[in-house]
Amino acid sequence: MTNAADFAAIRLTLELAAVTTAILLVVGTPVAWWLARTRSRMKGVIGAVVALPLVLPPSVIGFYLLVTMGPQGPVGQLTQALGLGVLPFTFAGLVVGSVFYSLPFVVQPLQQAFEAIGERPLEVAATLRAGALDTFFTVVLPLACPGFVTAAVLGFAHTVGEFGVVLMIGGNIPEKTRVVSVQIYDHVEALEYAQAHWLSAGMVAFSFLVLLLLYSRKRGGVR
């Protein structure tokens, strides 16, 4: 039924999703914090930019990433100057694309979690001698923990489900950029419906389980 190529695709997909989620949690946290706390007029602009991947066709994101990261693009020039080569059609390129593609799925739950905490616990912490960073780790992180779980799960799941961006900037290189969604596409193209079914059903089951966990956890109330 399934073969080594399928397993390679699954492994690559999980790897991509894990790396992307890790990067997004690190990068998304300060962005979400800023969005939750700022009174700057830039809040609307940055918020809209973060939300763009929600509405843009993945091919548009992929196209611009391809252009900027390509040999002639500004990012491509930079990576070449740094001796890293160009990112398109590499795993690193996929990671960059996935980070953009899944950004709102991580930033928005975090932002909501930070906003829900409000000003008061931060003020209380300050009157109890905790500086900003101290407060972030000892008060904000524990209180926003459910938000972090939601952000990580959504970021991971959404990256697993990525297709258009991958196709645009990753192509279809076995064990390097061929993720599950692309593999399914290949199977269908080759009329290998049984294998397409196997992977597709796996994706459905995985996505359903993730969402089930997320929603039943929410309904149960977060203590």
């Binding site: 616990p121 912490a125 009157t127 109890l128 001698r129 905790a130 500086g131």
Partner: protein
């Protein structure tokens, strides 16, 4: 910057000057508070008392501000000094208890404590716990506490940081009368047992009368009056005296007892003041209040009435309280009393400043 590195000035009290302008509200307050005892910031909502308290804490950044607490400068915008909140050795009790929901009572208490250098600790955790009577609550989570218990934990948490200034923003406002009565004795204990100046925001005259030594009256972001409670409350030019329930605070000493009639004699301005229902040892310091409407005036000392407390007094000033009623400020051997009488009586008796007469005090209510 450690507190030791802070800029120092002379002075043992609290000196503050803040200016702050928002749309629809401006704070422009300068005040000096004693470095010990309880100072109450009193005023209606919107008078700026909470904002002023937040400026003292550094939670609100006033422009053009100055703040020195017991000789330590926390803010001086002329010299570019601004100590952020978390570096100020203060305790702050918010209106709602604001305990950290993810920490047990014990870990809430330890949150501030463990961020204070050992050398700076003067209030032990055990002392704070005992003062507020919260030993049985230590292992509970905040969600399992009543409102009154939460507020007691919040006060203990603030105390456990050994603050050099304790700021309290209407800590009883969110509680019902029963919970208030539960906490007030603890607040009085703080006052008696710890040498920490307290700035207490309140809009309840009762609370102010019970707790405060010093009163700051605020209106529209400005300081209307500031002084010792027994000086500020009888002032006829301030709204306290014109309240329906206007009263003066009487700090007196227990001087004797009449067992037969279950009366206690207080010494007030060298004069006896009899009170019922007080069981305190000789020499104890008590605080009572005398309502303006419980004081009537007589031109001669009468012994044919049921009124027990008749004190010789001199009229200081008069003011129309409301149509038909007149407020009279009296001087009783250097202490102030207020009497509210009908204007007709005032006219018929010919009451005028400087006149000597007798104040008949119908009721003395013990505050603490």
């Amino acid at each position: 910057m450690s507190p030791a590195a802070a800029v120092r000035v002379s002075g043992s009290g609290i000196e503050a000057r803040f200016r702050l302008a928002w749309s629809g509200f401006a704070l422009d307050a300068a005040l000096q508070l004693p470095g010990r005892g309880v100072s109450a910031l009193f005023g209606h909502s919107g008078s700026g008392k909470t904002t002023l308290l937040r400026c003292l804490a550094g939670l609100e950044r006033a422009t053009d501000g100055y703040l020195a607490v017991r000789g330590e400068v926390w803010q001086d915008d002329v010299r570019g000094v601004y100590v952020p909140t978390h570096r100020r050795p203060l305790g702050y009790v918010f209106q709602e208890a604001s305990l950290f929901p993810h920490l047990s009572v014990r870990r809430n208490l330890e949150f501030g404590l463990k961020r204070v250098a050992a050398a700076e600790r003067r209030v032990s955790l055990d002392h704070a716990i005992a003062l507020l009577g919260i030993e049985p609550l230590l292992e509970r989570m905040p969600e399992r506490l009543s409102g009154g218990e939460r507020q007691r934990v919040a006060i203990a948490r603030a105390l456990a940081t050994s603050p050099r200034l304790l700021l309290m923003d209407e800590p009883l406002a969110a509680l019902d009368a029963q919970r208030k009565a539960e906490i007030l004795p603890y607040l009085e204990r703080l006052h008696g047992e710890l040498d920490i100046p307290v700035v207490y925001v309140s809009h309840a005259p009762e609370e102010v009368a019970r707790l405060a030594d010093h009163v700051v009256l605020l209106r529209d972001g400005r300081v209307l009056a500031s002084g010792a409670i027994d000086e500020v409350m009888p002032r006829l030019d301030l709204p306290f005296a014109h309240d329906e329930e206007a009263f003066v605070v009487v700090d007196a000493q227990v001087a004797g007892r009449d067992e037969r009639f279950a009366l206690t004699r207080l010494e007030f301005a060298g004069l006896p003041l009899w009170i019922t229902g007080l069981d305190a040892p000789l020499g104890a310091q008590v605080r009572a209040r005398v309502l303006a409407r419980d004081v009537s005036l007589a031109l001669a000392e009468r012994h044919d009435s049921s009124i027990l407390n008749v004190l010789p007094a001199r009229v200081v000033s008069l003011d129309d309280a409301s149509p038909g009623r007149t407020l009279v400020r009296l001087d009783v051997a250097g202490r102030a009393l207020l009497a509210r009488i009908t204007t007709r009586s005032a006219v018929q008796m010919g009451i005028a400043p400087g006149m000597d007469l007798f104040a008949q005090v119908k009721g003395v209510a013990l505050l603490r």
